[in-house]
Symmetry: C2
Subunit: 661 residues, 2 copies
């Protein structure tokens, strides 16, 4: 009998290998731009083992990507040849190595079929359950190739100009171009553009390519673009096929409302988010095409309200962490180390996936210890040589200990302690440090005069920005009195500089949702995201400044087309609408219990679905009526100060009569 | 002006990359057998930097194995395109990454020419001088290919038998076979043999290959063999070329004497050693074709009396160490970790190469700390789960703390302290621990009744073997009284089991040389090494047992041809003859001063040369006359209780008149 087999590898190494590959693929003009931080690779030399009991004689055959051999009860065998196992007990060890990819095996057999009941070892001292992925279940699969899917797409217009041909694919996409039956005496030059301006500005378009003269066919790398400008094609001929490269996701979350603009924003956010959801959660598909911990942290939350795809979250967490020893902070950024630590706990809260916490906890602990090793005697962390103290692209007093960083550190200590606790080995010292740090933060950074947290106490400038004050509410560092003070003195105070990046707007809008300003959030979405749509955006941008015009929308970092026009963090309306409008959130780990607390936020009608870890909640609400149904037990509706238990598969209907909120 | 450029890489990564490759090449029948310990790889993502001042406008062009780009004063450029540098100061950073090999660059330019004045970084916090190697000085070179040389070799006989053709290459070799103009309707099967028996025993020969039917040409991997048996060649035709694959070395050491057998032993040892001196010092060229720390430690000493090639020693030390974190002991063997630590100090003693100690010291310290972390409260190290307590292939009481291991630990602590001291950061604690440990060893393992060290004090068996007692003398743990007791009660006591491996015979014969038994050593060489020659050996074996016959000489580890017939440690006569007969050894680091203390060891006449780190000493001695000449200052002749200073290039002649020793 042959059982279902999967490709197996050293756990985490599939993710680390593909992260390495991805991190080297960023292109700019005619060179590549590998990520500027330490990149780890998979272990080149691994072994797998399993003890089996065969009730009858059976066969096994081991396939591998790599070289090596099979030991059965101490006797060596070759790959790819059937091995007969007699009735009884057997110990099987497979040894596989390769230097240019992920060593992995696929065992066809009965009791021996490869899956996570096999253990893996990198010739260190510990054996761990082998890693695998549902994407690789056939012997012909190669886990070294990420299992993208491909769909032919066609341009919505093809325009022949004097200088070349312009293809418009109608919206931003990520595709590989295939040129066949090429006849060209001279080179054909390709210029990609997220905007038409970029494609036509051949001296500055970021992504370019060349089909060498006399080629008969040419296949481009998959790239991000909406427009393609082909120069030198006038005197040439070819057949062009564009293949959209993507990973399919099951869209569980949805949102519609009485507000058509908001509906378009949600749909565009979904498309933006899908394009950036690939091997991992990327920042942007043109630039950087890398995995950034701060960006990914927000994507985890968006994902929870859209696909609830736990695999991409786990893949991203593993990839970002890499291996020990830790060389620098995650992505070189102090705060990004903290988001990484917090992400593990957030993932557990959403999924109750103890298996993953068990796997990742040793790496979480070494990350936490690394951060602690870089704190000073007073318990504060300060940027040291080579550290990037980011917080946000904003004016912020970064002198010495920075308030926002200490708050993230306190939260990380708590998260690391809590994950340890789940495994029965919580580090009491983490919790103590977290509590001590919170006291210190309140002692040193709270400014009674401003009624707010200041950026830095060491500079003497006592500067107030929104950042730390937003964290103080979101992370529960401010008490009720401080919270009210922050709302009045910071959040509603126009003299405190506005948040200008969609990155930090995620936290700002969340805190506004939490402090009863939902209608204001609705307006902000209409203005900011609606503003991009009004300019013809088909995906949301890395940043949008309503006060500039024309080409200035596309520039960033000194490059004329440096801005990413398809950036994951632009998809935050999905999270905000699901979490605070449809109002669904877990009240215990893994949504074993969850709350449905819908709010209209100034809209006449909202309707949508939210994933709840294996189930889904459908919410439909107008000022007159609330309708909720879910296929999962554990839900509670909270509305107008009352609570109603939800029954699985039983529609819950409440006539509201009056307008809510 | 264009200066001399070299390929540069992250320091140590060339060695680690080639060690990984090598460790995966061991073959057995139709599968590969990667080494069974943690293997590290080079960093996939690195950067290089240099600040230059150009007195005039000049050009630079960067070539790379890998993807990336060049930053000049903050502006990005492509590889392979000339970049113009204006007069004045420039800061250049090159970023290069690859996943399937060693990222490295070659900069053609004047001030910018790539060499070790460039610094390298793996996106950790430290910049180090870039690594390079004299083997890669041309733009066309690829440091991913080890720079072996090839020489056509021809068989001394070709015998057509009914079952196939037998080629005899006259002596053991390491060669790749190239078959051209092949015409064969069926597969052609190749069977290699270090012995004729192995080549003909097609069911058991370790190395095999197949030329598939209908191939027109076929190229085999380079392999170890003397004989080749080709089956299926009767009905086929082909042209066979054999290419000896080797690394050239400058043979500085030499030895001849009045004893023809000893001369043949020396020559055969040299050939054996040369075959095993490749990317690194191997154990054997057929098996394991790996780098073992205990084997390599002896090779370093042999090398010092033959090639004095410091590069292969450094390559081997780097390869064996790999990277942090440390997963297990070196090669999984406790003692092999200690030999590794000791080897760094031994290398310094021979070379005074402070630059290398500076590079390797951080890895030496983490190795030492790893070993210390595995000691118990009483300061002794005991084998823990997964540790291999080797000492020797011998009956040895391995209960609990093993005496020989503690002695190596004490020596390692001293070596690690001493290397730290050279850099002004010696760990006083290491020295203290070493001294405490020596006291403990004498307190727990010295057995007054036996007048010897016992293997284990925990078993109660109080077993005495030669091993720890040999170390006690060589490592200076025994005092004069203990030393004399050991000589009488152990070394000259036939009731203590004899050393049976050439591996440990290295230390045994050395201690015999040091304790005035040179004539006995001469006899042992004649018997043991002469015994192999008498059996037709063309290289020295992994092990030789005069009491067996026929096929039994070839078996090991349960495999009929499992024994390596070309094993580096078989070359120890080179060391013994150079060190104790010609009598040359350093009396201060790097042979700044050295001693020539020749002894005839029962021979009528000895003559030879010994490298002395940049120089050479020629010694010629008979019972009547001693003649010494050297091209290096600092030498002293010691003979008959007198000392004579040597002058560079001035022959020293002493009429002895009487027989010495």
């Amino acid at each position: 009998m042959t059982a279902a087999s999967q490709w197996i590898w050293y756990p985490g190494d599939f993710e680390i290998y593909h992260h390495l590959q991805l991190s080297m693929r960023r292109e700019e003009r005619d060179y590549q731009w590998p990520a500027f931080w330490r990149l780890d690779d998979c272990y080149p030399n691994v072994r797998f083992r399993k003890k089996v009991h065969c009730d009858a004689v059976e066969e096994m055959t081991v396939y591998a990507h790599g070289v090596g051999h099979v030991w059965v009860d101490g006797k060596k065998h070759s790959f790819q040849r059937p091995i007969t196992l007699s009735e009884g007990q057997h110990e099987i060890i497979v040894h596989v190595a390769r230097t240019d990819g992920l060593p992995c095996i696929f065992v066809e057999g009965g009791e021996t079929a490869s899956d996570t009941t096999w253990e893996a070892n990198e010739f260190g001292r510990e054996w761990l359950p082998a890693g695998c992925n549902v994407l690789y279940q056939n012997r012909e699969d190669d886990p070294n190739q990420f299992a993208f899917q491909y769909m032919k797409i066609v341009p919505v217009s093809i325009e022949h100009r004097a200088e070349g041909i312009v293809y418009d694919f109608g919206r931003e996409t990520f595709a590989l171009l295939e040129f066949e039956n090429v006849e060209a005496a001279a080179d054909i030059h390709l210029f990609y553009g997220e905007s038409l301006d970029e494609a036509l500005d051949t001296d500055h378009s970021i992504l370019i390519d060349t089909i060498p003269a006399d080629s008969t066919s040419y296949r481009c790398n998959a790239r991000a673009f909406r427009y393609l400008f082909v120069q030198g094609a006038e005197s040439a001929s070819f057949e062009l096929t564009a293949w959209y490269e993507y990973l399919p996701f099951n869209r569980i979350g949805s949102f519609t409302s009485s507000n058509e603009l908001l509906n378009r924003i949600w749909e565009t956010a979904e498309y933006t988010f899908h394009l950036n959801s690939r091997e991992f959660f990327l920042d942007g598909i043109k630039r950087d095409r890398w995995v950034w911990s701060g960006d990914a942290y927000q994507s985890y939350f968006i994902n929870n309200y859209l696909y609830f795809d736990t695999d991409i979250t786990k893949r991203t967490i593993i990839a970002l962490r890499g291996k020990d020893p830790i060389a620098t902070h995650t992505n070189t950024i102090v705060d990004y180390s903290f988001y990484w630590i917090m992400s593990v706990h957030a993932y557990y809260e959403a999924t109750k996936d103890l298996e993953f916490v068990t796997f990742i906890y040793p790496r979480m602990k070494s990350m936490m210890d690394y951060c602690i090793s870089r704190t000073d005697e007073d318990g504060f962390i300060r940027g040291r040589d080579g550290d990037w103290v980011f917080v946000d692209w904003a004016e912020y007093d970064r002198t010495g200990a920075v308030c926002a960083e200490q708050m993230l550190l306190a939260e990380s200590l708590k998260a690391a302690w809590a994950c340890g606790e789940l495994l029965g080995k919580g580090e009491a010292e983490y919790l103590k440090q977290s509590e001590r740090l919170k006291e210190q933060i309140n002692a040193r950074f709270w400014d009674e005069e401003h009624g707010a947290y200041i950026d830095s106490f060491e500079s003497g400038r006592r500067n107030v920005t929104r950042h730390a004050n937003i964290f103080a509410i979101l992370l529960g560092i401010a008490d009720d009195r401080q919270r009210e003070s922050i709302i009045q003195n910071v959040l509603l105070n126009d003299e405190v500089p506005q948040i200008s990046t969609p990155y930090f707007a995620f936290y700002e809008l969340e805190v506004m949702c939490q402090t009863g300003q939902l209608e204001h959030v609705t307006q902000r979405m209409e203005q900011y995201w609606g503003g991009m749509l009004a300019l013809g955006a088909t995906t949301f941008w890395e940043e949008y400044n309503p006060s500039v015009s024309g080409l200035d929308h596309y520039g960033m970092y000194g490059d004329r087309y440096g801005k990413s026009l398809c950036h994951a963090w632009g998809a935050s309306p999905i999270y905000l609408l699901g979490r605070y409008y449809l109002g669904v959130y877990p009240s215990s780990a893994g949504y074993e219990t969850f709350v449905v607390e819908p709010k209209l936020g100034g809209l006449e009608r909202i309707e949508g679905t939210v994933p709840v870890n294996g189930g889904v909640v459908a919410v439909k609400m107008s000022s007159e009526r609330l309708h909720v149904i879910t296929d999962k037990n554990g839900g509670t509706v909270r509305i107008n100060g009352k609570e109603y238990l939800l029954q699985k598969d039983m529609p819950f209907v409440l006539e509201l009569g009056v307008r809510v909120e």
